[in-house]
């Protein structure tokens, strides 16, 4: 029997039991949709993560610290306490000379500011970073509004993340924040009372996506000034006045050196070279990989749940096909009597089950595409509200669609195998007698 005839016969037999066929297909559709959507969500999230990381240069970033053995995340938050090697200009010079280094900057956390004020809103530094670096292109952001820190920004420019913008009441209108003056209030417990400094005024130059939490970024030179306190002390019996200076950076050094590697593939080499200089080094790639792995695991779990739905659907197929073999016992007998081989009968039922699987997969994939379109509409609005340029981040790859289609068809055929064998092995004489 030709395949086209088997297919036609299978299709026809299925359409004889429309309700049952629809329900069986519906079950497969549920499985196919859950597998497709869940896998697509995870792969989309993963590729969004990776593409965002590429935009900020995180994938090519190496952070050099005075303490060895820190991972990437720990390195970003590293707060030198004098226990590790001191990071200063000489380290930057050394690191810049390492092969494959595109650019590098000293990086520090600023600890001397306790709060920021804009208009009537004051935000204390809680769960908020205050970083400083030389704006030479080593550190990049995904911009929501305005621009990166640069030489043009006059030394007192500040870049805030969208989370801060939102806390300041500028969610969805980040561009209005650009150009506004932000007051930086010093901590009151730095040095003696006479060392207290007046508040600083910063100009917001841009709003960026937070890569690793929310916070502010300023020019390194300014941060060094902010870090430094100076006061005069009366010391000695003659009332001599001594000028005292205290600076965390001078004492313990900078937090780290951030390096932009020329090529993603050279990251490993740079890591090794920096480590051989005796410093700690961690790559942004590690963090991306860790997160990507987490997504993969989530994907596997979600895909597995979808897989269970497909498995249940497969049981539905078995049930439907067993019913079909029972109902059509006599028909099978007739077919055998007029010359159908066991193989032909087996194939007929398997093809029929395969058609069930294929239809379920097809509808499932189509519905999934519709779902993605709908989800993107919602997400696009949210992305636009957050000032992110990316659109349509949920995408169903043709590969996933194709694989799901293939798998549901295979599952159908596999589930149909047992009933098909039952049908094929019926004794034709008995089958013809069946009422």
């Amino acid at each position: 029997m030709r395949f086209s005839d088997q297919f036609r016969t299978g299709w026809r037999n299925l359409s004889r039991q429309k309700l049952r066929t629809s329900l069986t297909i519906f079950a497969i559709v549920i499985g196919a949709v859950s597998v497709t959507v869940m896998l697509s969500l995870v792969t989309s999230a993963k590729s969004f993560l990776v593409s965002s990381a590429e935009k900020t240069g995180m994938d090519k970033r190496v952070i050099v610290t005075g303490t060895q053995g820190l991972d990437y995340r720990e390195s970003t938050w590293n707060w030198p306490d004098g226990s590790g090697k001191k990071i200063d200009q000489s380290v930057l010079d050394q690191v810049t000379k390492v092969g494959n280094v595109n650019s590098a900057t000293l990086y520090t956390q600023v600890g001397s500011v306790s709060a920021i004020v804009l208009g009537g809103t004051e935000l204390a530094f809680k769960n908020m970073y205050f970083e400083a670096y030389t704006p030479n292109g080593t550190i990049k952001h995904v911009m929501v509004a305005g621009e990166e820190l640069s030489d043009k920004t006059n030394g007192t420019g500040v870049l805030v993340t969208s989370g801060i913008a939102s806390d300041l009441g500028f969610k969805g209108k980040e561009s209005e924040l650009v150009g506004q003056k932000l007051t930086l209030k010093y901590r009151s417990d730095m040095g003696p009372p006479e060392a207290r400094k007046d508040d600083e005024t910063a100009t917001i130059v841009g709003v960026a996506m937070g890569e690793n939490g929310d916070g502010l970024s300023v020019d390194l030179d300014w941060a060094v000034k902010m870090d430094r306190i100076e006061w005069t002390e009366n010391s000695g019996p003659n009332g001599q006045k001594t000028t005292r200076v205290e600076s965390q950076i001078e004492k313990n050094g900078y937090s780290s050196v951030w390096v932009d590697v020329k090529d993603k593939n050279a990251v490993e080499a740079v890591l090794n070279d920096v480590k051989s200089l005796g410093y700690g080094a961690a790559a942004g790639k590690e963090e991306i990989d860790t997160q990507a792995t987490a997504f993969t695991i989530i994907g596997a779990v979600l895909g597995g749940i979808g897989g269970i739905a497909l498995l249940v659907a497969a049981i539905g197929v078995i049930n439907t096909m067993v019913m079909a073999t029972l109902e059509r016992t006599r028909e099978i007998g007739i077919m055998r009597a007029i010359g159908a081989t066991k193989k032909t009968v087996r194939r007929l039922f398997r093809v029929e089950a395969g058609v069930l699987g294929f239809m379920g997969g097809l509808f499932g994939v189509v519905i999934s595409f519709g779902f993605a379109i709908g989800l993107n509409k919602v997400l696009n609005q949210q992305l636009a509200d957050s000032g992110i340029a990316d659109r349509n981040i949920v995408s169903i790859s043709p590969q996933i669609a194709l694989v799901v289609l293939l798998i549901t068809t295979l599952i159908g055929m596999l589930a149909g195998s047992l009933p098909a064998r039952r049908a094929a092995n019926m004794d034709p004489v008995e089958a013809l007698r069946y009422e």
């Binding site: 029997m1 004889r16 028909e331 007998g333 034709p428 013809l432």
Partner: protein
């Protein structure tokens, strides 16, 4: 060599605790173009004999050769092919596929055998329907046909592959006498065209029209003189 040659056929069924000898050392030859009637009471083994000659069943012992094909030893594929293209079966209960039209039923052996293109099958099917005088009922479903018409569709199906042998198992059993006579006449006409005909029946008037009458009782056969 005879067209159909059975020798020493044995077939035993177990019904409950009882062993039923459906065929007990049956030997039979049928020449090409012959018309034989196999008669006997129900349970005598006549259907089993027909099924064995028709390749639907295989004997426990003995040999059955039809047109040089050894059916007793044949595997499923060869046996199926034999049923598909060498013989035509006509059953008491017509055994038409209810969801298919008369034409689709008629061409189903061609479809199953993978014979020809769609158009060719259709033409052959229509021709077969024409032979039994039902070309105007091609698109009717079996339920839209009378019993006699259904049986003629079944005959057309048996004919479509140009078989050399037609086995009809109680072809008139579900028909009134006039429709039954039509069907027998149809089969006789085919026999006159050269097709070997084996009719299983317990109807004496049907049997009387055969050239040879084989009587079977408790799995054993005796031959009576036929109409010839």
């Amino acid at each position: 060599m005879a067209f159909v040659q059975c020798s020493g056929l044995k077939k035993t069924y177990t019904v409950g605790d009882e062993e039923v000898k459906a065929l007990d050392n049956v030997s039979l030859t049928v020449e090409k173009g012959d018309f034989i009637a196999i008669c006997g009471p129900s349970g005598s083994g006549k259907s089993t004999l027909a099924n064995v000659i028709g390749g639907l069943d295989q004997p426990d012992e003995g040999s059955v050769m039809v047109d040089g094909i050894d059916l007793a030893k044949a595997r499923d594929k060869a046996l199926s092919e034999y049923r598909n293209s060498h013989i035509g079966f006509v059953f008491q209960s017509f055994n038409l596929q209810a969801h298919e039209s008369a034409l689709e039923n008629v061409i189903s052996p061609l479809t199953i055998g993978g014979v020809g293109k769609k158009k060719e099958r259709r033409e052959r099917g229509l021709k077969a329907l024409e032979r039994v005088g039902l070309s105007d009922r091609a698109s009717h479903k079996p339920t839209q046909l009378s019993g006699g018409q259904r049986q003629r569709v079944a005959i057309a199906r048996a004919l479509v592959n140009d078989p050399q042998l037609i086995i009809a198992d109680e072809p008139t059993g579900n028909l009134d006498s006039s429709r039954g006579a039509d069907v027998i006449n149809e089969l006789k006409r085919l026999n006159a065209e050269g097709i070997t005909l084996i009719i299983i029946t317990h109807d004496a008037t049907v049997a009387a029209q055969a050239k040879r009458i084989i009587e079977i009782r408790d799995g054993k056969i005796t031959e009576k003189a036929g109409a010839q």
